[in-house]
């Protein structure tokens, strides 16, 4: 056997040992990290501010393995019926072996976006699909990604929105209608609630604005009085409910 062959044989042997040891030790380190209570995500908490709905979540990673975790990317996505409601991600430089890193994830979506693309959520309680993802390099060479699917409960801010008891008082030329809804969301509904009454052809009969402040887990029940032109009044039509200029509901009404 020549010298070249002998050297190559030894190089190959050493490299095979590396190939075998690296994944085994990385898998062991990985299993140490993913012991209970070493990686934890907290479910997003919803709040509202200035027309925006904010979802805040926090997480921590306690690297009890013996390899550093580098280029750690944590992302969160919330979907409603396979339609994205929002997503965000955070990149951490790394979690060195034996250290614990905590961070938070926040993302917001406009109430107007909710009203235009996910109007169902405004009046219906449901579950939102939540996807949590964590990807990282382990030992700076191998990569891994963990994706967890979960659901979070959604409480509708205008749950069970109903328009009832429509009545026209000819003496005052006022059309009155009762508006009722329950705020099942974790935030308060504070703003202008507008009720528009239209005839069957879509012509505006009248409208009424009311400043509301409905706290979480309370209900709203009020009678809206609309000054209307008696010549325009019809026995039935369509009603639109707006909150801060965003249409949240529409229903037919009859006297």
């Amino acid at each position: 056997m020549g010298t070249t062959t002998r050297v190559l044989t030894w190089v190959i042997r050493i490299l095979w040992i590396v190939v075998l040891l690296l994944p085994v030790s990385a898998a062991f380190s990985f299993s140490q990290v993913f012991q209970p209570n070493n990686v934890s995500f907290y479910r997003p908490v919803l709040s509202a501010s200035n027309g925006m709905i904010i979802a805040s979540s926090s997480f921590y990673i306690n690297n009890t393995g013996f390899y550093d975790l580098s280029n750690v990317i944590v992302s969160i996505a919330i979907l409603e019926n396979n339609k994205s409601l929002g997503n965000t991600s955070r990149t951490l430089a790394g979690v060195p072996a034996g250290e614990k890193v905590s961070s938070s994830l926040d993302f917001s979506f406009a109430f107007s976006e909710l009203a235009s693309n996910h109007r169902f959520l405004l009046t219906n309680d449901t579950s939102l699909d939540l996807t949590l993802s964590l990807s990282s390099h382990i030992a700076y060479v191998l990569t891994f990604g963990v994706s967890i699917n979960d659901t979070i409960p959604w409480g509708a801010p205008f749950y069970n929105l109903t328009l009832s008891n429509a009545d026209f008082e000819s003496s005052t030329q006022t059309l009155s209608i009762q508006v009722y809804f329950e705020n099942h969301s974790p935030f308060s509904i504070a703003g202008t609630l507008r009720l528009e009454m239209l005839d069957n052809e879509g012509g505006l009969i009248g409208f009424s604005d009311e400043q509301v402040n409905v706290l979480s887990a309370t209900f709203f029940n009020s009678v809206f009085g609309l000054a209307v032109d008696p010549l325009k009044i019809t026995s039935s039509g369509v009603a639109h409910v707006y909150f801060d200029d965003n249409r949240v509901y529409e229903a037919e009404w009859t006297l």
């Binding site: 056997m1 020549g2 070249t4 062959t5 190559l8 044989t9 190089v11 190959i12 490299l15 095979w16 590396v18 190939v19 690296l22 994944p23 990807s135 060479v141 191998l142 990569t143 891994f144 990604g145 963990v146 994706s147 967890i148 699917n149 979960d150």
Partner: protein, 147 residues
């Protein structure tokens, strides 16, 4: 004289066959013990156990072939075939370097591309070594024949 040489040759071949069988059995037992260990962790992932079974049988086959053809030029041919099998096998078994496992509502993805690249590199190095070995063997043989 001729029959004596023939007897020696068949004795040598018989001994080579026995040595090859013994080494294959030893390698087979090691792989079987490893399989018993792996089956505890991968019992729900039959696909990966199947890959291991294919790898184990092929390893036993190449071990037998290499030992049987030891001292001949064919040994290098078998070694090159084994290295090529290793390249193709690992590319196929690791789905080109990315393995995804679904466990209930958790999906785990492992990227093994650098490791796969290293395996391919080692196998290519091994092929180079076997080619060098074959050239060495052929030149040594011709020198011996000339002298």
């Amino acid at each position: 004289m001729i029959s004596e040489e023939g007897t020696r040759k068949s004795e040598k071949a018989g001994s080579r066959f026995l040595k090859a069988t013994a080494k294959s059995i030893v390698v087979g037992i090691i792989l079987w013990v490893l399989w018993l260990f792996l089956v505890r962790f991968f019992s729900d992932y039959l696909e990966y156990l199947q890959y291991f079974t294919i790898f184990a049988w092929t390893t036993v086959f190449f071990t037998f072939g290499e030992k049987l053809t030891e001292g001949t030029i064919y040994r290098y041919g078998i070694a090159i075939a084994r290295d090529m099998f290793v390249i193709v096998f690992f590319i196929f078994a690791t789905d080109s370097g990315t393995i995804t496992v679904d466990l209930a509502n958790i999906s785990l993805t492992v990227g093994l591309l650098p490791l796969l690249a290293l395996i391919v590199f080692i196998s290519l190095l091994s092929i180079a070594k076997d080619v060098t070995g074959a050239i060495d063997f052929a030149s040594e043989n011709s020198r011996r024949t000339r002298s």
